[in-house]
């Protein structure tokens, strides 16, 4: 069962990595977009 948990942890980490990475890019570019509007 431990090996299955390892796969679940790695898969979840990849997904969370995409979310965090996407969030960082989004918030950075959102600041640029807001700065352009001003």
């Amino acid at each position: 069962m431990n090996i299955e948990i390892a796969y679940i942890v790695v898969g979840t980490m990849i997904f969370v990595g995409f979310i965090v990475g996407g969030g960082i890019i989004y918030s950075g570019l959102e600041k640029i977009a807001n700065a352009i509007k001003k």
Partner: protein, 235 residues
């Protein structure tokens, strides 16, 4: 390395590429989702285009997944293998349509900024009309999610019946397909908040990543493939 192991690795990598490319929308969404998108998109067209091109990587990735899986899935259920191929092809086509719609906003933004004496409301109405089409065909749009959920359900059903992967993983996929479909329907046709709909995406999204890693490291269950091949040969 045998061909099934190779196909499993390629499919695992394609699943990760397809999921990663969805997050490329975070590159263009700050401009496309802004209330001032008509002012912002054209001046930032390079950034928007980079985001759209990176997201478009999912089109070939999604299309190639059932092609690599077809020789394996057809030995278990030919009709569902063809069905999965067709559904995934339709899914890729929908993404293509969504990308063309988004690209048309760049031209609209350019014309808006060079409008001269033209009425601003004409551009705003055209922009709203274009944006409303994305409500249906974008990766979080209803038509797309319904097609995706049907495809995921078919795929995990074949995996469950064939035991190509552990059953806990295919049952998780079946549950995830139902969850994402339910979330999308609730969001589209009731007052359910977007947050709940987004939370219901997580089971299938995480399952696909676990499944991808499983395929890359362990591949398909070779004893299930061997027993099916023997049965097919006898018949």
């Amino acid at each position: 390395m045998n061909s099934n192991k190779k196909a499993a690795r390629i499919v695992g990598i394609l699943f990760i590429i397809a999921t990663a490319s969805i997050f490329a929308e975070s590159i263009y969404e700050p401009f496309l989702n802004s209330p001032d998108y008509l002012d912002l998109i054209y001046p930032n067209k390079t950034t928007v285009m980079i985001g759209l091109l990176l997201e478009s990587i999912m089109i070939p990735a999604m299309f190639l997944i059932p092609i690599f899986l077809f020789p394996i899935l057809k030995t278990y259920n030919k009709a569902l293998a063809f069905g999965y191929l067709g559904i995934r092809s339709f899914e890729s086509a929908l993404i293509g349509v969504a990308q063309i719609i988004k690209i048309s906003l760049i031209s609209l933004s350019r014309d808006y900024l060079n409008r001269g004496g033209a009425d601003v409301s004409d551009f705003q109405n055209t922009g709203s009309s274009i944006q409303s089409k994305l409500f249906w065909v974008n990766t979080d749009g209803i038509i797309y999610v319904v097609i995706f959920a049907i495809g995921a359900f078919i795929f995990n059903f074949v995996l469950f019946k064939s035991k190509l992967i552990p059953r806990w993983l295919s049952i998780w996929g079946l549950f995830g397909a139902i969850a994402i479909l339910t979330g999308s329907m609730l969001y589209a046709f009731t007052d359910t908040s977007e947050v709940i709909a987004m939370l219901l995406i997580i089971p299938i999204a995480v399952q696909e990543m676990v499944f991808a890693i499983w395929l890359i490291v362990k591949g398909f269950n070779s004893s299930a493939i061997n027993s099916q091949t023997t049965r097919t040969d006898i018949n």
